[in-house]
């Protein structure tokens, strides 16, 4: 047995110092937590210009438009689109507006039991197509720019393949298209998931149940370390405000319509049909070769939800000759909310769209009817 040589005096001195610091911090933290905090999210002004069932279309106007073609942002059905506008200094939407880009964004709302039979086809060929027609009609143009995020990116890929005549440029961000990979835990876990039993039992897939799944992706950090970090910084008002904003967003989780969830897990995660152009929506084959418009595909190197192998095959499968992959050294959410990538992500998209914002043929067939209500 070795003789231990621990400097006990030093440790005790350190402990005394730490406890004094903790006491001071606790006093300041109580002032911060009991005081007024600015934790509002999605504060950028917008108009609701279209509504259909639970779905709404938000319209954000730039002060000085510099890009002719508006951009439609399609968020995932998991969590909410408010992530793109968490706070003024960390807002992708605000960055777009400051660059003169006119933005529309779909708010998928909160599905209820009524929506349990709504399929991916209903989202893509129904809601999305109606919304694209509304924007085309409002601007008197034939094609718009489309940007998809995560599952919303997969929907955008499907839409662009089924309705290529309506899309001028396509931007996909952290978008899973290839599901045959072992790099992401979700891909491993869903492989043998009995999705039928879950959907039949729940109707819609509850947001809280999915959130538990996301927390289980990294329990040590997401369930322990994160909150310890919060208590260590509870005396820092700015930190607390940002933390609360993020918590508000993370746990604002609508349910996913049952049939959409079933189809996404079965056809995408389990059968990997999308990347192989074998997916069918409403009886139509989603052929990636039909995606002939320019495509910018952005993904994150340290994304544990949608790892690079799930994203990086898309550009080689589409029919477009103008494609670009961009892999950023960050994670799934960091790409949109980290201060560092705020300076890189939105400006890159704006520059890419500006380069391709050539003359647009104004002939439009946007007179088609839509099922919702258009606000003017």
């Amino acid at each position: 047995m070795h003789q231990t040589k621990i400097d006990v005096d030093l440790i005790l001195k350190k402990l005394a110092e730490d406890s004094e610091k903790a006491r001071l911090r606790a006093r300041k933290a109580s002032d911060v937590l009991l005081g007024e905090l600015e934790t509002e999210i999605a504060a950028t002004p917008c108009d609701i210009v279209y509504e259909e069932d639970r779905v709404r279309l938000r319209h954000y106007r730039p002060q000085a438009p510099s890009i002719k073609t508006p951009l439609l942002v399609v968020y995932a059905l998991i969590n909410r689109e408010t992530m793109l506008d968490l706070q003024p200094e960390r807002s992708v939407i605000r960055s777009f507006l400051d660059s003169g880009l006119e933005v529309y964004m779909i708010d998928w709302g909160y599905p209820t039991r009524k929506d349990r039979f709504v399929t991916i086809g209903d989202h893509v060929n129904g809601y999305m197509d109606n919304i694209v027609d509304v924007i085309r009609k409002r601007h008197g143009i034939g094609r718009i720019n489309l940007m998809g995020i995560c599952m919303g990116g997969a929907f955008s890929v499907m839409y662009a393949a089924l309705h290529p005549e309506k899309i001028k440029n396509l931007v996909t961000t952290v978008t899973p298209t290839n599901f045959d990979t072992d790099k992401g835990l979700l891909h491993i876990w869903t492989r043998d998931l009995d999705v039928d039993r879950l959907v039949d039992a729940y109707g819609n897939m509850p947001g809280d149940l999915m959130n538990i799944g996301f927390l289980l992706l990294n329990p040590a950090r997401l369930m322990i370390d994160k909150y310890l970090g919060f208590f260590e910084n509870a005396d820092n008002r700015g930190f607390v405000e940002n933390f609360v904003r993020m918590e508000k967003w993370i746990f604002d989780s609508p349910a996913v319509p049952g049939e959409t969830f079933r189809q996404f897990v079965r056809d995408c995660y389990q059968k990997n049909l999308l990347i192989n152009s074998r997916l069918e929506l409403d009886g139509q084959r989603v052929l990636l070769k039909n995606i002939t418009m320019p495509l910018l595909n952005i993904y994150a190197r340290f994304d544990h939800l949608v790892p690079p192998p799930a994203c990086d095959q898309l550009t080689s499968r589409v029919g477009s000759g103008d494609v670009e992959d961009l892999c950023l050294d960050t994670g799934h959410i960091g790409i949109y909310v980290s201060s560092r990538f705020q300076k890189l992500f939105a400006p890159k998209i704006v520059a890419w769209l500006t380069e391709r914002d050539g003359s647009e043929n104004n002939e439009t067939d946007a007179e088609s009817t839509t099922a919702g209500t258009i606000a003017r």
Partner: protein, 301 residues
């Protein structure tokens, strides 16, 4: 004990004596003398109703005395005692099976307790002892579940069946949840062991974390590593999927039970509403298709 009773008719003698005295009492009750003074008045007041009541009373008394007198016969008495023995044997047999199984479970738990002091390899989840959960599942499936799947009979059959299904689903869900919680806790144990070992080595070298924060940072990093390994293991995927499966099964069984309760109340059940929603969805799709076809036609014209 039952055999003794067969050979020694003392028991049946006492039984016969008790029955005979009861018979005599019932015979008197079947033709009640106390009722005579009131009979005429009662007949006048209630017409044939009082008469019918008395007849039913007499008939029931006679039926009982007939059955009871039959039981004074030693052969019939033996039959009765045999029947009660069959039930007794059945219950004893069932209890024996359950106790045997629980004994096996206890043995496995004792084995596990004996292994508590043993170290398992860090960052390895191949050597986990999940046998106890399999044993419990075997006991439940083999010995207990069968009592919940006994065929239900009669008017309330489907309701009883739903209760049994609910109890079965709840038991399976609890079992799956226990296994998941156990597995999920393994990295905590392993990470703590690894950090303790590391601390021991460091202290022998005269090094020690300068603060609790340093110690925590070391522990959480090791813990994260263990979780990353566990979450990718086949065992974890199996246990997670099993939990989700049993959770869905439990939820479905609970819903069936609730629907039984709700069907007599003016409340629409999920089944009712789902039928409507499905129809609504079908019609909405049809309208959408027609709208688009109409718009296309208008454009062409």
């Amino acid at each position: 004990m039952p055999t003794d009773r067969k050979e020694n008719p003392a028991g049946s003698d006492i039984w016969s004596q008790w029955l005979e005295s009861t018979l005599s009492a019932w015979s008197q009750l079947a033709t009640p003398a106390w009722a005579a003074p009131f009979q005429q008045a009662a007949e006048k007041a209630a017409g044939s109703f009082g008469d019918q009541t008395q007849k039913q009373w007499q008939s029931a008394g006679q039926l009982f005395t007939l059955m009871a007198s039959g039981m004074t016969d030693p052969t019939n008495f033996a039959g009765l005692t045999n029947s009660s023995q069959i039930l007794q044997q059945m219950l004893t047999g069932a209890a024996q099976q359950v106790f045997d199984s629980l004994g096996e479970l206890q043995r496995q738990m004792a084995d596990r307790a004996a292994k508590l002091g043993q170290r398992t390899a860090a960052y390895s989840f191949e050597d986990l002892d999940l046998g106890i959960f399999d044993t419990w599942r075997d006991i439940y499936e083999g010995e207990l579940k069968k009592y919940l799947t006994v065929p239900q009979l009669g008017l309330a059959r489907s309701y009883q069946e739903h209760w049994a299904q609910f109890a079965d689903a709840a038991a399976q869900y609890q079992s799956a949840a226990a296994e998941f919680v156990y597995l999920f806790g393994v990295p905590l144990k392993k990470a703590t062991e690894v950090v303790q070992e590391q601390l021991q080595k460091d202290s022998e070298a005269g090094e020690f974390p300068q603060s609790g924060r340093d110690l925590y940072a070391k522990w959480v990093k090791v813990l994260e590593g263990h979780y990353m390994r566990l979450l990718q293991s086949a065992d974890y995927t199996r246990v997670l999927n099993q939990l989700l499966d049993k959770l869905a099964h439990f939820r479905r069984a609970r819903e069936l039970l609730l629907q039984d309760l709700l069907q007599d109340l003016p409340v629409a059940t999920n089944t009712d509403m789902d039928a409507l929603y499905k129809e609504h969805h079908r019609l909405k799709r049809r309208v959408r298709t027609l709208e688009k076809a109409l718009a296309q036609k208008d454009r062409i014209e």
